[in-house]
């Protein structure tokens, strides 16, 4: 609480003191209410947000901070700092130091080469784009050669994906036939130089093609569950299981491109991941997923954006392929997903209708997100929508979207930007 108070005082002091020093202050206030459409009609979310963007630019340096406050009735206020960094500009180079979101790749809503900033999955994939990524404390250097850029990122301390609370409707703990104990003792990656992450990207922009080529040495943002049986002496049958989440190192190379062909924007993105640990069944232990097998995998997509009349469409096909596949691996050898977006505006762009969907082709599940947005005035919008999770009742697995079949919801957001 003391920290929160200090934070507020600091924020207010900055607001008053720096006003006189050409500090730009922008941001938004938002009220967000979501209701589950199942029998409970529970609120899936009831949240007020203040999001501030503070920026000051001098000749060759600038400062940016993005503090935010989430307030939920009858709960503690959540304060956070999405980004806080300094920029230094040179003729052909920029340096950015501090907590920052780094976004790579050409895909929409998918994370193939866009893996530098970890994700906040506290609300699965439903948060706005700028809220689903977390900032990471890092040093980023960009060197410019005409329309080409070399970008290097050094992340001294690993930050994992933020997972939903165990009590959240978005929590997903694997089901086991035995009682489980969770051991989080190995979840943290100690902050030391050898544990830092590094990424490099070479990108270019031209009339014909935009492209990115990247490589990285990183920790897997999502921990693997090391499952070990609890065995009592003299009793060969396990009494329970200990789950030990642990992050492993990964190496990847990848790239992406975007080009226009006859009015169609073609986009592609792919990455080859080395050293991924996959959960596998263990025939010696009741066929439980107590093993981990290290395999390489490829993750790639092809997509297109186009318009028919004044309606914009976008679609992507995504595949993840595990190489040198072993039948004991829990995940499918090939995992196929599609995305679809249709968007149209009316009334001088004050009314927007949108339909977005993820479709899991392996398990025939989906997340469908229709929405309507109306601009009541400049910077003041009201958005109403639905999140519909579809499960194939006949499928053996629910799939990543079908798992939340009970979480269908309708919601409304009012947002004032200033």
């Amino acid at each position: 609480m003391k920290n929160k108070s200090l934070f507020l005082i600091l924020l207010m002091a900055m607001g008053t003191n720096l006003f006189a020093q050409n500090l730009e202050i922008n941001g938004y206030v938002r009220s967000y209410l979501g209701v589950l459409t199942n029998d409970t009609n529970d609120y899936s979310i009831n949240q007020n947000t203040l999001d501030l963007k503070l920026k000051r630019t001098d000749d060759n340096v600038s400062f940016f901070a993005n503090p935010f406050i989430y307030q939920t009735p009858n709960q503690d206020v959540t304060l956070g700092l999405r980004e806080a960094y300094m920029d230094v500009y040179f003729d052909n180079m920029d340096l950015r130091i501090g907590k920052q979101q780094i976004i790579w790749g050409k895909a929409d809503g998918m994370f193939i080469t866009d893996i530098v900033s970890p994700k906040d999955l506290g609300e699965f994939l439903l948060r706005d784009f700028d809220e689903i990524r977390t900032g990471i404390t890092s040093l980023k250097a960009n060197y410019y050669l005409g329309d080409n850029t070399v970008e290097m990122v050094w992340i001294p301390t690993f930050t994992p994906t933020i997972m939903p609370d165990e009590t959240s409707i978005w929590s997903r703990i694997p089901e086991f036939p035995l009682p489980i104990t969770i051991d989080e003792s190995q979840k943290e990656i100690p902050g030391r130089l050898e544990n830092s992450e590094g990424f490099i990207k070479f990108s270019g922009m031209s009339s014909l093609l935009d492209y990115e080529i990247m490589a990285g040495s990183m920790w897997d943002d999502d921990p693997n569950l090391h499952v070990s049986p609890i065995i009592e002496q003299g009793n060969p049958q396990p009494l329970g299981l200990t789950l030990t989440p642990k992050h492993h190192q990964l190496t990847l190379v990848g790239g992406s491109f975007s080009s226009e062909l006859g009015g169609f924007i073609l986009r592609g993105e792919g990455a080859y991941y080395m050293g991924k640990q996959f959960s596998a069944l263990n025939p010696d232990q009741l066929n439980l997923p107590t093993s981990l097998l290290e395999k390489d995998y490829a993750h790639y997509l092809i997509g297109t954006d186009f318009s028919i009349g004044t309606t914009r469409f976008s679609t992507q096909f995504i595949q993840r392929a595990i190489l040198d596949y072993d039948d004991l691996i829990v995940q499918d050898e090939l995992d196929n997903t599609m995305t679809f977006l249709a968007n149209r505006t009316f009334l001088q762009e004050t009314l927007t209708l949108q339909l977005f969907g993820y479709f899991g082709l392996n398990n025939e599940d989906a997340l469908i997100r229709p929405s309507v947005t109306y601009d009541l005035a400049d910077g003041f919008e009201i958005l109403a929508g639905a999140n519909i999770f579809v499960k194939n009742e006949d499928s053996e697995n629910t799939g990543q979207f079908g798992y939340y079949d009970d979480n269908d919801m309708i919601y409304v957001k009012m947002k004032y930007s200033f």
Binding site: D128, D130, E260, I265, Q348, D378, E381
Partner: protein, 257 residues
């Protein structure tokens, strides 16, 4: 002296008539297209959009334009309203009429520069009554031009040109432009929809000279069918200040002004 003046006036009238008669519709539109615009230009654009109920919305943009070999580069930074602030839009257009523009948009919420299709030129720019195509320099060879008549408009002698697109799928069936004879400024332009009904009227309300460069500093597009209009006003216009080529890059789209 009086006689000399009269002779000169007659000579000028005759030469003017001959001048106009010698020019084809294409020649006139080509002169409008070739009118000097300077090597580069910066300015602040305020766009006021008013709907049929009289409700107004205002957008502010900082714009940089530069002529380059084989074409032109333009970058726009959106300053207001707050929900689009820091969005930027870049276009590379080409003298070769057969080559499409290249366009990119930077959305600060996505923190990503996205290539967008130049095929969507019929879309309206930021909810205004201007399409992206209206804001660009349409190449004279894209249309067939015919001189309809000469007419005095707002006290200025103009040549009235009808332009019919060669592409039958183009968003307008035809346009009619009033071109001022000596300055080759399009003073007024009518846009007709696919049913050949009058859709919009563009009028120049203010212009300003910067040496031999004339900039239209206030224009109004009135949608006659929806009874709504958009006014674009340029201020702080600067010509030939030597904008660097690297202004028109992904780096600047992300960094802002």
């Amino acid at each position: 002296m009086k006689i000399l003046k009269s002779i000169l006036t007659i000579f000028m009238l005759i030469s003017g008539m001959t001048f106009a008669q010698d020019l084809s519709g294409l020649d006139v539109i080509q002169k409008v297209y070739d009118r000097p615009t300077g090597n580069d230009m910066t300015g602040n654009l305020i766009m006021t959009i008013e709907n049929s109920r009289g409700n107004q919305r205002v957008r502010e943009i900082k714009q940089f334009v530069k002529s380059v070999k084989n074409g032109e580069k333009k970058i726009m930074f959106f300053l207001s309203p707050a929900d689009v602030k820091n969005t930027s839009f870049m276009t590379w257009s080409y003298d070769d009429a057969s080559k499409s523009d290249d366009q990119w948009i930077y959305l600060p919420a996505l923190k990503k520069v996205k290539r967008i299709s130049s095929d969507s030129k019929g879309d309206y720019f930021m909810g205004s009554d201007f399409t992206y195509d209206d804001l660009g320099d349409r190449h004279p060879m894209d249309d067939t031009h015919t001189i309809l008549r000469e007419e005095v408009l707002n006290g200025k002698e103009t040549i009235v040109i009808e332009s019919v697109p060669k592409d039958e799928e183009y968003m307008y069936a035809r346009t009619v432009t009033w071109v001022i004879k000596d300055s080759w400024i399009g003073l007024k332009k009518e846009f007709y929809d696919e049913d050949d009904d009058l859709l919009k009227i563009l009028t120049v309300e203010q212009e300003k000279s910067f040496g031999d460069v004339i900039i239209l500093t206030k224009v109004k597009m009135h949608n006659m069918q929806k009874n709504q209009f958009t006014i674009m006003e340029f201020s702080d216009v600067q010509i030939d200040k030597g904008i660097q080529n690297n202004k028109f890059s992904e780096r600047m789209m992300k960094r802002g002004i």
